[in-house]
C-alpha cells in the first residue's frame, strides 16, 4: 500500500488514461479561464476567479504528468516574473489614471476621455478589462508558484521529534 501511495505521488505522474484525457482537458480549462478574465466586465467572474482557473489548469498538468514536467513547462523563475509583471501592470493602470486625468489613482481615463464604447460590447468600460487581465495574470502565476513550491518542500525527517 505504501508503493501505491508513492506511485500516485505528484513526482511520478499518473496512468496513460489520465495523461491522455488531461492533455485535452487542460487546454479547455485554460481557455475557460481566459474567457472568464476577458469578459469580466460583462458576465460574472472577473480577474480573481479567472486567475484561479488558470492556475488550476497548470495544477492539472502537474498532477497528471509529474512535477518535473510541469516545472519544465513553466519554471519557478518564469512564474515569479509573470507574477511581478501582473502586479506592475495593475500599478501602471493606476498611475496612468493619475497622469491622464483627475488627481486620483484609478481614474477610468479610457472610458471618460478616449474610447467610449457601447455597453455590453467587449470593448467598453475603459480600464476595467485591463485591470482584470493584470489581476488574472498575477493570481494565476502566484497560485501556481505556491503549489510548485509546496510540492518540492520535503520536511526534514531527523529534525523534529514529534509530529
Amino acid at each position: 500500500m505504501a508503493e501505491k501511495e508513492r506511485n500516485s505521488n505528484g513526482m511520478k505522474g499518473m496512468t496513460v488514461i489520465v495523461k491522455t484525457i488531461s492533455s485535452w482537458v487542460k487546454v479547455l480549462i485554460f481557455l475557460f479561464g481566459i474567457y472568464i478574465i476577458i469578459f469580466g466586465h460583462l458576465t460574472p467572474g472577473g480577474g480573481f476567479a479567472g486567475g484561479v482557473i488558470l492556475a488550476s489548469s497548470y495544477v492539472l498538468l502537474m498532477l497528471a504528468f509529474g512535477r518535473e514536467f510541469a516545472e519544465e513547462n513553466l519554471s519557478l523563475p518564469v512564474a515569479s516574473r509573470l507574477d511581478c509583471v501582473g502586479a506592475l501592470l495593475f500599478a501602471a493602470v493606476a498611475l496612468f489614471g493619475l497622469f491622464y486625468g483627475a488627481a486620483s489613482f484609478f481614474w477610468n481615463f479610457i472610458h471618460r476621455k478616449y474610447l467610449l464604447g457601447e455597453p455590453l460590447e467587449l470593448v467598453s468600460a475603459g480600464t476595467i478589462p485591463l485591470s482584470n487581465i493584470a489581476i488574472g495574470l498575477k493570481v494565476g502565476a502566484s497560485l501556481f508558484l505556491v503549489i510548485l513550491v509546496l510540492s518540492t518542500f520535503r520536511p526534514e525527517p531527523s529534525a523534529n521529534k514529534g509530529e
Binding site: 500516485s8 460574472p44 515569479s80 484609478f106 480600464t127 482584470n132 508558484l145 503549489i147 513550491v149
Partner: protein, 183 residues
C-alpha cells in the same frame, strides 16, 4: 427559504464531522463539502461572482491540503485534546454568541439590504450611476475595479506579499544555506 436551512444544516454537519473525525482524508473531504455548500448558498443568494470564486478556490485549496497531508503518509491524527484549550475556545464562542444575539435584533429581515435605507446611500448611487459612469455591464466589476479600486489594490498587495513570503521560506536553496554551518 427552505433551501437555505437545508444548506446550512449540511454545512454544520460537515463542519462537525471535519473537526471530530480521526481520519485525515475524511476531514479534508468534509472541508471541501463546506466550501461546496457555501458556493451553492452564494448562488441561491444571487451572487454568481462570489460563487465562481468560492468553488474554484475551494477545489484548489482541497488539492493543496491533500498534497500536503495525505500523500506524505500522515493519515491519522493522534493524541488527546488539551483541557485548557477547549475551555478557552468555549468561552470565546459563548462571548461571540452573546454579541451575535444582540446584533441580530437590530438587523433588518433576511433578504432586504442593510445600508440602502436612504436613496442617496452609496449602494443606490452605484446602481443608478454604474453603467453610465464606468460603462461596465457587470456592476460588481465596476465597484471593485473602478469605484473601490483602492481595496482591490490592497487585496492584490496582500496576495503578492503572502506568495513572496511562502516562496522565500520554502525554497530549497534557503534551507540548504541554513543547514550548513559555514557557507
Amino acid at each position: 427559504m427552505a433551501i437555505f436551512y437545508i444548506l446550512l444544516l449540511f454545512m454544520i454537519i460537515a463542519a462537525i464531522i471535519a473537526v471530530e473525525t480521526q481520519d485525515l482524508l475524511s476531514s479534508v473531504i468534509c472541508v471541501g463539502a463546506i466550501g461546496f455548500g457555501g458556493s451553492l448558498m452564494f448562488l441561491f443568494l444571487r451572487a454568481p461572482d462570489i460563487a465562481i470564486t468560492q468553488i474554484v478556490v475551494e477545489v484548489l485549496g482541497l488539492i493543496i491540503l491533500i498534497r500536503a497531508t495525505i500523500v506524505r503518509d500522515r493519515t491519522f491524527i493522534t493524541g488527546d485534546r488539551e483541557f485548557f484549550g477547549m475551555v478557552v475556545s468555549m468561552v470565546i464562542i459563548f462571548v461571540i454568541f452573546l454579541a451575535g444575539i444582540k446584533i441580530l435584533e437590530v438587523l433588518p429581515a433576511f433578504g432586504t439590504p442593510i445600508f440602502a435605507e436612504v436613496s442617496d446611500a452609496a449602494s443606490q448611487t452605484y446602481i443608478r450611476e454604474g453603467l453610465r459612469e464606468t460603462g461596465a455591464a457587470n456592476l460588481v466589476a465596476s465597484v471593485i475595479l473602478d469605484f473601490r479600486a483602492y481595496d482591490t489594490l490592497g487585496e492584490a498587495t496582500v496576495l503578492f506579499t503572502a506568495i513572496i513570503g511562502a516562496t522565500v521560506i520554502l525554497r530549497k536553496k534557503s534551507r540548504k544555506l541554513l543547514e550548513e554551518p559555514d557557507v
